[in-house]
């Protein structure tokens, strides 16, 4: 189907279909910036003021409220030590007490239908930065330095950096009207809906992108829309809103992929020290995404500075390092993070022949001076063995000059299969904790889900462990044991448990609707019947409130049941019950 508009009934010549991709703000009833805010929180321009230092020059839309703390963080996080144009990302915690927009919330449709890793952040913002520094004699400092920052709750790193590439060079030339125009165009964009291919017009270009859906087949590349249209100018088709070029991100560390994957899976405290914010932020985001479809549940900061409001919290020596991953560029951090268990030091990429030079695993004690060499500084011993076949395959790809996207696709698939091999036994065990369907009866409260027992799970590994889907050898049980202590397990378990509880509630509701309540009430006392009505009502309200995934008809059926039962009661009671 044509993504730009719906081919409606085509009548006679030129009397025909129309649809406007843009909403008409004049006639639309949505609040100002309602559409804009489904994509972005705001756009900021950060500049260097001789007296103030880094300062926000402009925020658009003008009425967006950022707290002073947020503003300060954005200023520092958007202003790297860099000598040319650079793009990178950061993530910051939103101030306490801030009311998140109307659009968000746990039961949000978007968050419900999108893969976990693409959910809207509820307590953090992403900042996507385009920073420019060029010599400019007309400025006192001798340099033009400015950043354009897109602030969003969406982790669409590719989309927003592509957008920055389109708008920033124009903005630096044409200034505020340009930003005003862009924000107004974004305010005409359709909202992000999982599973939809969207056309996003901006500055004379139509960016076409698909928002992934939770129902997409894992690993399969999303189906491109069937018929390709030849637009002129061709729309800028982005293959993904969020996926990074993994091979590029991991090119000097891919021989340690297994170790890095384990560290991410376990949510270990980690610092990525990189030569630039671009490299630090891409590496951190790539690492975080490496355990997808599992959600990385710890805090991560693609670019972190000493000015960050969490700096003290994260670097206090009185406690063990927090379970976070921080991307930094300032060599001063070597001292600060000396007690951290895992430090990935990246340098500028070096080639040995055709091959990107791989960093080595080094002892933490070697970590001391400011000119610490690239390497993974850790005492960590991996649970799983290295996959030599993967490394060979990647190396062969390099020799054959295989395009980076293809290498990335290999890596992505590999990581996905690895994570799935790890998670499938857990999913299978969890499914066995569900009560039997026949134990769900309308006459009793819904049955309990059996508690998760680590020992019981471990006992399943012999016959139904990861060896069924992965050839990798190693201490899988040890990895699971450690995983149980991580925030990622906790996050995964909570979510699954919630889904299962809802499933049981659904089954219970269905059982109630299938039961013959009226004949059950025949030999019951009034008290019991009233009690039943109140309980059913409570169930109905709850189902609607938490948007239980049941059909509307089912809820309507329940509602009419309640009415029928009420009408079987004496009239005075009926009046009372109708009032409530």
């Amino acid at each position: 189907m044509d993504p730009l508009d719906r081919p409606e009934s085509l009548k006679e010549k030129f009397e025909s279909s129309s649809s406007s991709a843009a909403t008409n703000r004049e006639t639309s009833t949505c609040a100002p910036w309602a559409r804009f805010s489904t994509w972005l929180e705001c756009v900021c321009v950060v500049t260097f003021d001789l007296e103030l230092g880094q300062a926000i020059e402009l925020v658009y839309p003008h009425d967006v409220k950022l707290t002073e703390k947020e503003k300060t963080s954005i200023c520092y996080l958007s202003f790297p030590d860099s000598y040319s144009d650079t793009q990178f990302s950061f993530r910051l915690r939103q101030s306490v007490g801030r009311v998140s927009g109307l659009w968000f919330g746990e039961e949000d449709d978007y968050n419900r239908d999108v893969p976990l890793i693409l959910q809207k952040e509820l307590a953090h913002f992403y900042g996507y930065v385009y920073f420019r520094q060029v010599k400019d004699v007309s400025v006192k400092r001798g340099y033009f330095q400015k950043s354009l920052v897109l602030v969003s709750r969406l982790p669409y790193v590719q989309l927003f950096h592509s957008l920055l590439q389109i708008i920033t060079p124009e903005y630096f030339e044409k200034l505020e009207p340009c930003l005003e125009a862009v924000c107004n165009e974004i305010d005409q964009w359709p909202p992000p809906v999982p599973g939809k291919t969207l056309n996003l017009p901006v500055m004379g270009v139509v960016v076409q992108v698909r928002i992934p859906s939770k129902d997409d087949k894992a690993g399969g590349s999303p189906t491109r829309q069937g018929q390709k249209e030849n637009l002129l100018p061709a729309p800028m088709v982005l293959p993904t809103v969020h996926e990074l070029d993994l091979f590029k991100c991991f090119q000097s560390i891919f021989i340690h992929l297994q170790m890095l994957w384990e560290l991410m899976l376990l949510g270990e405290p980690m610092v990525v020290m990189a030569p630039s914010p671009a490299i630090s932020s891409e590496t951190v985001l790539a690492l975080v995404s490496s355990i997808g479809p599992l959600k990385y549940c710890c805090d991560f900061r693609p670019y972190f500075t000493i000015h960050d409001s969490e700096f003290k919290e994260y670097t206090t020596r009185t406690q063990a390092p927090p379970n976070v991953i921080l991307g930094v560029t300032n060599p001063f951090f070597i001292k600060t993070f000396q007690c951290w268990p895992h430090i990935l030091r990246l340098g500028e990429l070096k080639m040995s022949g055709d091959l990107p030079k791989q960093v080595k695993v080094k002892k933490l004690s070697k970590l001391k001076t400011l000119d610490t060499k690239p390497g993974i500084y850790t005492a960590y011993k991996t649970f799983l063995h290295k996959d030599k076949a993967l490394i060979k395959r990647l190396l062969k790809g390099i020799q054959r000059k295989r395009p980076s996207e293809v290498q990335s696709a290999i890596l992505r698939r590999y990581l996905l299969e690895l994570t799935q091999s790890f998670i499938i036994p857990l999913e299978r065990y969890l499914a066995s904790l569900m009560p039997l369907q026949r134990s769900v009866t309308p006459w009793k409260t819904p049955p309990q889900i059996r508690p998760f027992s680590q020992d019981e799970f471990m006992a399943t590994l012999d016959h139904a462990g990861p060896q069924l889907t992965s050839v990798l050898k190693g201490d899988w049980p040890g990895l699971y044991k450690r995983f149980f202590r991580s925030a990622n397990f906790d996050g995964w378990y909570r979510l699954r448990h919630k889904e299962m509880t809802q499933k049981v509630e659904c089954l219970h509701l269905e059982a109630i609707c299938d039961a013959d309540l009226l004949s059950w009430t025949k030999d019951k006392s009034e008290v019991e019947i009233v009690d039943l009505i109140l309980k059913l009502r409570e169930k109905l309200i709850r189902a609607r409130k938490i948007q239980l995934p049941v059909k509307d008809e089912l809820l309507e059926k329940l509602e009419s049941y309640i009415q029928t039962v009420i009408s079987s009661l004496p009239e005075d009671l009926q009046t009372v019950l109708h009032k409530h």
Binding site: D5, S18, N230
Partner: protein, 197 residues
Amino acid sequence: NSLTCIYNKTCLADTGVGKSSIVWRFVEDSFDPNINPTIGASFMTKTVQYHNELHKFLIWDTAGQERFRALAPMYYRGSAAAIIVFDITKEESFQTLKNWVKELRQHGPPNIVVAIAGNKCDLSDAREVSEKDAKDYADSIHAIFVETSAKNAININELFIEISQRIPVLDMGGSSGVRGLKLRREPSDVTRERTCC
């Protein structure tokens, strides 16, 4: 419907001459006398059947206000056609139209189809630009010319049909052809009554 043609167009002109009204009349077949000035640009699409072909128009309706003047190239540079609008009751808007033509010739895509719309032809009592002058000028630059009224729905579809006929269909090797076009507005007086589009 063997052929789909897609046009990217820019609508250019000063503020107040009726660019957005023309686009709205074409896309939605409606008219709002109190339409707000465009900010930046509005993007709209419309698919119409013409003979045996489907024509799809991607329309960038640009802002006419002076502060957005410098943004126009972003929109017309990728367009197959530009509609330049002037207000027949404002001589000044006809003069600024000529500046837009010059700019397009200098900085626009080489084969951009130019269409001139003399809008507000329902207000012929207040006419300041004669149809002949405008037609002669359009002919001299090989541009399409029509007098339109977005308010009374005069010549709006005709304008777009003419444009689609002029745009060369690119052979994309398949059954679908492609054309692109953008619209721009013309500068004129903001204080003019908006009801007279």
